[in-house]
C-alpha cells in the first residue's frame, strides 16, 4: 500500500511537470495579451531538439539548451505575425502547431525507436530525499520538476511583484494606456511570446530526455492544449498553475490506477480531456466573472491607434 501511494505521488509529479512548464509559459504570454495556440507544436519541436542534441552530444543539459533555443526560434514566427503584422492570433497559433508538429516529425524520423543511452538523471535533494514517505516521492525526481516549480514561483514573483511584471500585465489589460507611459508594447509582447516558447520547449524536452528517453512522433499527445486550458483554470496566475498542473498530473496517473479495475482504457484516456471541460465548467458555474482574462487577450494592437 505504502509503495502504491509513493509511486502514485511520484508519477503525479512527473506527469504534472511538462504541464506546469508549458502553462507557466502560456500565462506569461497571455498576460501580455497574446494568445499562443502554438504550445503543442513548440513542445514537439523542443522534445525532438532536446532528444537529437542529447543523443549526438551525450550531454542532456546541452539538449535542454538546444531545445530552449529552438523554442525561441519557432515562437519568433508567432511573435512576428501576431505583434508586427497584427495577424489573427488564433490562426497564427494553429499554423505554428501544424508547423511544429510537422517539423518535429521530419527532424525526428531517423531517431524513431532509438533509445537514449544517457538520459537526464533524477536528482536527489540531500536530506529531504531521506524523509520517510514523501522523501522519495517528492525529492528524488527529475531536475525538470524542480525547475518547473522554481520557474513558476519566479514567474509569479516577476509578474505580481516587479515593475516589469506590472508593465507586462498592463500591456495585456490596456496597451494604449501602457504606451502613453512610454513603454514599448511591441517589445514587451515579443519578449513574452518568446519566453512562453522557451517554457513550452522545456516542457517538450522533459518528455523526450527525462520522462521517456526516446522520441515518438506525436508524443506531446495534446498536453500543449491542456496547458492552454490550465492557463484559464489557473486564472492566469503561475502560483495557481502549480496546483492546477499537479491535479492534472494526477488525472493522467488515474488512468493507470483504474485500468486494473477493468475500466476501458479508451475511456480512461478520455479523462484528461473530459476533466478539462468539467473543470472549466465548474469555474464558470461558480462565478463567470472570475474567468478574468486579460482584457486585450487575443487582440492585435496597432501603435498610435486611438
Amino acid at each position: 500500500m505504502e509503495e502504491i501511494i509513493i509511486s502514485t505521488i511520484q508519477r503525479t509529479m512527473v506527469a504534472g511537470t511538462p504541464l506546469l512548464l508549458a502553462t507557466t509559459g502560456e500565462i506569461i504570454c497571455e498576460r501580455a495579451g497574446i494568445l499562443n495556440l502554438g504550445v503543442e507544436g513548440v513542445m514537439a519541436v523542443g522534445a525532438v531538439t532536446a532528444f537529437i542534441v542529447t543523443m549526438t552530444t551525450g550531454h542532456p543539459w546541452l539538449g535542454v539548451l538546444a531545445a530552449m533555443a529552438a523554442g525561441f526560434a519557432v515562437s519568433l514566427i508567432h511573435a512576428f505575425t501576431s505583434v508586427t503584422l497584427q495577424a489573427n492570433q488564433v490562426v497564427s497559433g494553429l499554423a505554428l502547431t501544424m508547423l511544429g508538429l510537422g517539423l518535429s516529425g521530419m527532424m525526428g524520423k531517423p531517431y524513431v525507436g532509438r533509445p537514449l543511452a544517457i538520459k537526464m538523471d533524477d536528482l536527489a535533494i540531500p536530506l529531504l530525499s531521506d524523509l520517510p514517505w514523501i522523501g522519495k516521492a517528492l525529492f528524488y525526481q527529475s531536475p525538470f520538476l524542480y525547475l518547473a516549480i522554481v520557474l513558476a514561483i519566479a514567474a509569479w514573483f516577476f509578474l505580481e511583484r516587479t515593475r516589469m511584471g506590472i508593465q507586462i500585465r498592463s500591456t495585456g489589460e490596456n496597451p494604449k494606456a501602457t504606451e502613453t507611459q512610454g513603454i514599448n508594447v511591441s517589445l514587451i509582447r515579443y519578449a513574452c511570446v518568446l519566453m512562453g516558447g522557451v517554457f513550452s520547449a522545456l516542457a517538450g524536452a522533459h518528455l523526450s530526455i527525462s520522462y521517456s528517453s526516446s522520441w515518438v512522433e506525436g508524443m506531446t499527445a495534446g498536453r500543449g492544449w491542456i496547458a492552454i486550458a490550465l492557463t484559464i483554470f489557473a486564472l492566469w496566475n503561475p502560483g495557481r498553475a502549480i496546483f492546477a498542473s499537479f491535479i492534472f498530473g494526477g488525472i493522467f496517473v488515474l488512468q493507470y490506477l483504474l485500468q486494473p479495475l477493468g475500466i476501458s482504457p479508451n475511456f480512461l484516456a478520455m479523462l484528461p480531456y473530459l476533466s478539462t471541460l468539467v473543470i472549466l465548467l465548474a469555474i464558470s458555474f461558480r462565478d463567470p466573472r472570475r474567468l478574468n482574462a486579460p482584457a486585450w487577450l487575443g487582440a492585435a494592437y496597432k501603435r498610435g491607434e486611438r
Binding site: T81, V91, A95, L99, L101, G102, L280
Partner: protein, 359 residues
Amino acid sequence: MIRITTSDRYNITPLRSFMTNVVALGAGIVAISFIFLASGVNPLYAVSQIFIESFGSVYGIKETITKAIPLILIGAGLTLAFRAKFWNIGAEGQLLMGAIFATWTAQHLGSALPSAVIVPLIFTAGFIGGALWGIIPAILKIKYAINEVITTLMLNYICAEFLTMLIVGPWKGKTRFGFPGTDALPDAAILGVLPGSRIHYATLILAIVCSVGLCILIYKTRFGYEARVVGENPDAGKYAGIDFLRTSLILMAISGGLAGFAGVGEVAGIHHYLGYPASVSSGYGFTAIIVAWLAKLNPLFAIVSGLFFAGIIVGGDAIQISLGLPAATVEIVNGLLLIFLIMGDYFLHNKIQVRSSRA
C-alpha cells in the same frame, strides 16, 4: 533616409485579394523549398512532383477530387463559423461523430430498407451527429463563457477515444479477424462511385450544393448578416436584439453537420466500415481550417481551395513514398502555407509605402 509608413487600405477588390493569396502561396512554396533543400531533396523536383502527382494525370485528378470532398464540406462549414469568430477547431471530432451516427444507422436499418431510403437516412444521421458535437461548444461558449478553441479541441480527443472504445468493444466486427473495426456496412448503405474511381458522387454533389447554399445564406439572408455581426461587432449585435445563443447554435449545427456529412462520405463511400479514427479522417478537420482561410472565408471559394489542398495531400503522399520523406512533410507544407497566407492578409489590409525622405 528611408521611411516605411503603413496606412489602412479600404478598397480591397476581389482581384487584389486573389492576387495576394497567389503571392502568399508562392512565397510559402519558396519557404517550403528550403525545408526540402535541408532534407537533401531537390526542391524544384519535389514541388513540381507534388502538383504533377495530384493534377497531372487522370488517376491523380480522381484521387484529388476524392480527398477534396471532405475538405470542401468541412471548409465551407468553417467559413460560416469563422465569420462569426467562432473558432471551431473541432471539425475532426464532428466528422468522427457523423461517421459514428451514420454507421449505427446503416448497421441497424441498412439491411431492411432500400438504398433510396437508407442513403438519405445515413446522411441525416451523420449531420445530426456532427451538429450535436458542434453545438456543445456553442452552448458552453454563449452560456458559460468557456473558450471554444479549448472545448472543440478537447471534444476531438474525446470523440476519437469514444470511437476507438466502440470499435474494440461493443461494435467490434465478427469479420475483422480480431482486428478493431466494425463489420462492413450493408450494401444498401454503400455510396455509389464514379466508375474507375473512388469519387462518391452523392457526397461530391452535396459538397458543391452546400457551398453554394452557404454562400447564399451568408450573403443574402438575415441569418447570414446576424452571424457576421456576432463576429464583427458583438456589442452592436446585442443592441440590435440578435439572439447570440440561437445564432451560435444554428451556425455551429451547420458547421458541425457539414463535418458530419464528410464523416458519412468517408465511412459509406471510401472505407465501408468504421475503423480507427486516424484512418477515418486523416486530419481533414485541421486541413480544412487552411482551406477556409485560403478561401477568404467565402464558402464558394472553398471548392477551389479544397481542391488545391486535396492536391497537396495527394501529391505529398506520393512524393513521400518516392522521395523517402516522412509523413510529417504534408503537415509542414500546410503549416507554412497557412503562415504565409496570414502574412499576406497584412499586406492586403495595409498599404506599405517606402519613401526616401530628405533629412
